[in-house]
């Protein structure tokens, strides 16, 4: 350990210290200083983001004997994770206050999860991958169950926990096989040893379990069973978090494991990812059509989006990887916008989580109906919005890797899924509001402004998508 190691991972160290201070603040100040907790968390996020930005370096740096890697990929994923957690805090603040769920644990656990994400996307070693993932998922289980008196939230947390523990076990089993085959836990070390090891079939055996673990964390079919229940059952504020930053972590984990560590086994995992992609695309686009719950519909749409993301990953090229990262960023910004509208409409005793709840939103609040429509069009991939470019890039990368059939499946899925996104738009614009409906947009100023900015960013990043794409490409030496 040297001073340099400490400086390299300053953002994580700062965040750890900030979380400790917040924990103590929460314990000593009690519930009276709730809004102070909110603003202190936002301050911690801001400083962490500044520390990440200030560490911009041309060549990747490692610290703590290769456990921690800081490179462009890690910085992109960290910055957008911090951004999405900040959005989560802003959007959920009025919701939590109204539900009397105003406990400091929401902030500390979310920040712990963010710390897990940051460690995960910077991992240079199988041990760090596993520990970062556990830090993230343990906090997520607790967050889902945070509304203790809701039987649905408890049930969702239980399913999430049991399936998540199983997936962690599978991942760990696969990692132990990789260690047995290569004799090292370091990801670059595994990549160097794999071509010469006599136990390659053992490594492939481990690879199957590793892929299963990755697919579970993404929520890709056929490992998607937890996702609809968790989205529907948890409080909307937690759904917003589960639907945002962890997807960036999953893409980071997949790239560290597959691109850095297991690239020599590309022919094996390419086919597995392709199968997962097709299954996710089909399930995501077909099952979402029959949903009447908005959160559940968005959950199935997530499964479909993860299928698109896998199109980029399965290409195995640096362009495909950059497209996957781009897609993850696009997905996160789109889902924060969509769930943000749900949170803005929710009030005490009214979740606004059924599609019918949005009937006639245009007559009540044209501006927010417009924002929701923007999010839906972007999720559906309508040009020139952000989501369109993301879809285009992953399809291009699949074609570039000579997987034309996969691209065709993707294109069909995109067209089918457009149907249910448009249904939401139709309900908002062409249906009459119910007589007793009390659609009312939250009066919280920061929520209204930030949500508007978030949704408009989908348009802006769609029109000027070049710099972000260049940044993603630079993460892979492009």
């Amino acid at each position: 350990m040297s001073w340099n190691d400490v400086l390299t991972m300053l953002p994580e160290l700062y965040l750890t210290g900030a979380i400790c201070v917040l924990l103590l603040f929460d314990a000593f100040a009690g519930t009276r200083y709730r809004s102070a907790m909110h603003w202190l968390s936002m301050l911690a996020l801001l400083v962490t983001a500044l520390l990440v930005v200030s560490a911009q370096r041309a060549i990747p740096a490692t610290a703590f004997s290769g456990m921690y890697v800081d490179d462009t990929l890690a910085q992109i994923l960290k910055l957008f994770s911090i951004l999405s957690v900040a959005l989560v805090f802003v959007f959920s603040e009025p919701y939590l206050r109204m539900r009397k769920m105003a406990v400091g644990e929401f902030h500390t656990l979310t920040l712990f999860a963010l710390l897990g994400i940051m460690l995960l996307v910077s991992a240079g070693n199988l041990v760090m991958i596993y520990l970062g993932l556990e830090l993230l998922t343990l906090s997520s289980y607790a967050l889902v169950a945070l509304d203790r008196d809701s039987p649905r939230a408890t049930e969702a947390a239980m399913k999430y926990f049991v399936l998540g523990a199983l997936a962690s076990g599978l991942l760990l089993y696969g990692m132990s096989m990789l260690y047995g085959a290569t004799g090292t836990l370091s990801l670059p070390g595994i990549a160097a040893t794999l071509p010469v090891t006599p136990h390659q079939s053992l490594a492939v055996f481990g690879l199957v379990f590793v892929i299963a673990g990755i697919a579970f964390k993404f929520g890709a079919a056929p490992f998607h069973m937890w996702l609809p229940d968790v989205y529907e059952g948890s409080p909307s504020a937690v759904t917003l978090f589960v639907a945002s930053a962890p997807k960036l972590a999953a893409v980071g984990m997949a790239l560290r494991l597959l691109d850095v560590g297991l690239h020599p086994l590309l022919p094996y995992w390419q086919d597995m990812l392709a199968v997962l992609a097709v299954a996710s695309l089909v399930i995501g686009s077909l099952v979402a059509i029959v949903q009447s719950n908005l959160k559940r519909m968005l959950a199935y749409s997530t499964i479909g989006h993860m299928g698109f993301l896998f199109l980029g990953l399965s290409a195995g090229t640096s362009f495909g990887n950059a497209a996957a990262v781009f897609y993850a960023i696009a997905y996160v910004l789109m889902s924060t916008a969509a769930f943000g509208v749900i949170l803005a409409l929710a009030r005490a005793g009214f979740e606004a989580d059924r599609i019918d709840d949005l009937r006639g939103l245009n007559q009540r609040s044209p501006w927010f109906a417009g924002l929701m429509a923007l999010a839906m069009f972007s999720l559906g991939g309508v040009p020139p919005l952000f989501g369109f470019w993301a879809k285009l890039l992953v399809l291009q990368s699949a074609i570039g890797a000579h997987m034309l059939w996969l691209a065709i499946v993707g294109a069909f899925a995109a067209i089918i899924s457009l149907f249910y996104y448009l249904r939401v738009v139709k309900v908002m614009y062409f249906d009459k509001p119910a007589e007793d409906s009390a659609l009312l947009v939250s009066s919280d100023a920061s929520l209204r402004w930030v949500l508007s900015l978030n949704a408009l960013a989908l348009l802006a990043l769609g029109v000027f998508q070049g710099p972000l794409l260049d940044w993603c490409l630079r993460g892979f030496g492009g």
């Binding site: 350990m1 750890t16 400790c20 924990l23 103590l24 314990a27 000593f28």
Partner: protein, 130 residues
């Protein structure tokens, strides 16, 4: 040669556990012997009334196994967490003189994190039995 040396060392290390193995055998043997003697020698004349649970002369109201309060669980999980912390201290104490100051710093950090957790549960009142 290395392998032979390793095997010798292995034998020597395992030999240290020989008394423990013996102790386990004696404990298991003694336990089983006492149970067997009780089973064979003691008179047993069971009857339905004799075996029924006794509750102050009434019929039994409910199952003897009732729900535990969730607070026991909280205490147990807090115990496990600090138990694990102690488990990390053992190898640290063994190699402390070899690594030196760095080992001290990292263990102070480790314990400081858990002390934050400890203060947290204390202030939240999780250690109070109401």
């Amino acid at each position: 040669m290395c392998a032979v040396l390793a095997a010798e060392v292995a034998g020597a290390v395992l030999a240290q556990y020989w008394p423990i193995l013996l102790f386990m055998a004696v404990a298991a043997g003694l336990g089983m012997a006492l149970l067997t003697i009780g089973l064979v020698v003691a008179p047993r004349r069971p009857a339905a009334q004799k075996l029924s649970p006794y509750e102050c002369g009434f019929e039994a109201f409910e199952d003897a196994r009732m729900k535990f309060d969730v607070r026991y669980y909280l205490i147990a999980i807090l115990f496990i967490i600090f138990d694990l912390e102690i488990a990390f201290l053992f190898p640290w104490a063994v190699v402390f003189d070899r690594i030196g100051l760095v080992a001290l710093i990292e263990m102070v950090l480790f314990i400081a994190l858990l002390v934050v957790g400890f203060i947290y549960i204390w202030k939240k009142g999780a250690l109070e039995w109401e």
